[in-house]
Amino acid sequence: MGYSRYDFTPLLHSIDQWLYSVMSPAWALIVELTLIGLAFLIFYALVGLFLVYAERKVCGFIQNRVGPNRVGKYGIFQTIADFIKLLMKELIGTKDADKLLYNIAPYIVIICSFMAIGAIPFAQGLLAIDFDIGILYIISVSSLSVIGVLLAGWSSNSKYPLIGAMRSGAQIISYELSVGLSLLTIIVLAGTMQFSKIVMAQENGWFIFKGHIPAIIAFILYVIASTAETNRGPFDLAEAESELTAGYHTEYSGIKFAFFYLAEYMNMFIVASIAATVFLGGWMPLHIPAWNGFNVVMDYIPPVIWYFMKTAFVIYIIMLFKWTFPRLRIDHLLTLEWKYLLPINLVNILFMALIVLLGWHF
């Protein structure tokens, strides 16, 4: 197919070959791992900075104001300035905090989001970890960050963080179920959990079109549940400013606070990437069966651009949620999950299985 002209496999393979030819295998492995680590570190930082900027611009757009516009052209350097300022702030903690857990918490949230980002397929041949249980891996790793949140709230020895962390824990584990089950609906259709195979299976149509009604229901459920799982508005009870100041990271200052903030945005990026990959075809261009001319034209757009366009689309939806809906109350939040999303999801999976068995999908 035409899109394979943008395949990264030969390029990466030749770099690999070259490294192994100029140095001993042990050194080549170390250099390779360092390069991958460095690339992901830069990517992680750039996406984090960009998302904070994008959020402020989207917020400004919805509230009919300009948003950041002073630092650099259109304020593009605003988040870099913020980052430097946060880095230059003194780290202060509370008096009787549990020091060890208090210091470990930011590490846990960042490491969890960083490990999840390695399994995302950015383009053909451009993914670091290609497990055959990819979806299960990414769900489990990203949901570990709830431990960091709970530790942060509990160890601060302050009341607002404790309440925020408890709410956040209850919310994350509840919505975890809906995230898993709505992805399960698509696994039933795809028959695999490996990300590279899932993307390849969408060559003749994205899963949201292939699975028509149940896939669309699953997509809607996934977007709602993942918004709640990343603690974003309208589900941001964990950091409800009006009642809990800043929630679980009230007692953190400077760069440690920035890491919690960064992890929240990166989690949003990760859930949007999963939505783009599993429902909207990942890096696969839009193909319509029997429209050969159209498919050839679409193949000329590089897969990386397709991937980022789809991810940006899902991120934009999630941002719109935050600035459109008022915040939920905790009992409403749990009712929504346990009495609506979960039963709908269970029925939806059976519905999808029946459609796959009867061959009613495209």
């Binding site: 230059m88 702030k89 780290l91 590490y107 490491i111 249980i133 824990g169 584990i173 269970l346």
Partner: protein
Amino acid sequence: MSAESLILFFIVGAFLVGVAVLFSSYVPPKSSNPQKFEPYECGIPTEGLTWLQFNVGYYMFSIIYLVFDVETIFLFPWAEVMKETGMRGFIEIVIFFFILGVGLLYAWKKGALKWE
């Protein structure tokens, strides 16, 4: 790239936080006064203990979550081989879902899903 890359991502993530925290704990200017390290509580001295007994509602939800999460883990292998197992596997999973549904209904009727 498989198992070793997990260790790599772990180390790089820890490195990112570690370097920034190290920088931040030595470079920025410091000042100290008695009020600075008080826990925040609307600007007044804190009252009572923080680490005390908590609302049981959270505990209830985590118990139900545990049941359903284990059930989700059971469903993943089925979803992957669904096409091979065919109608027979489908009927078996319907029975599994039925038992689950009864469990959810029971918790619902018992009032475990109600926030108090």
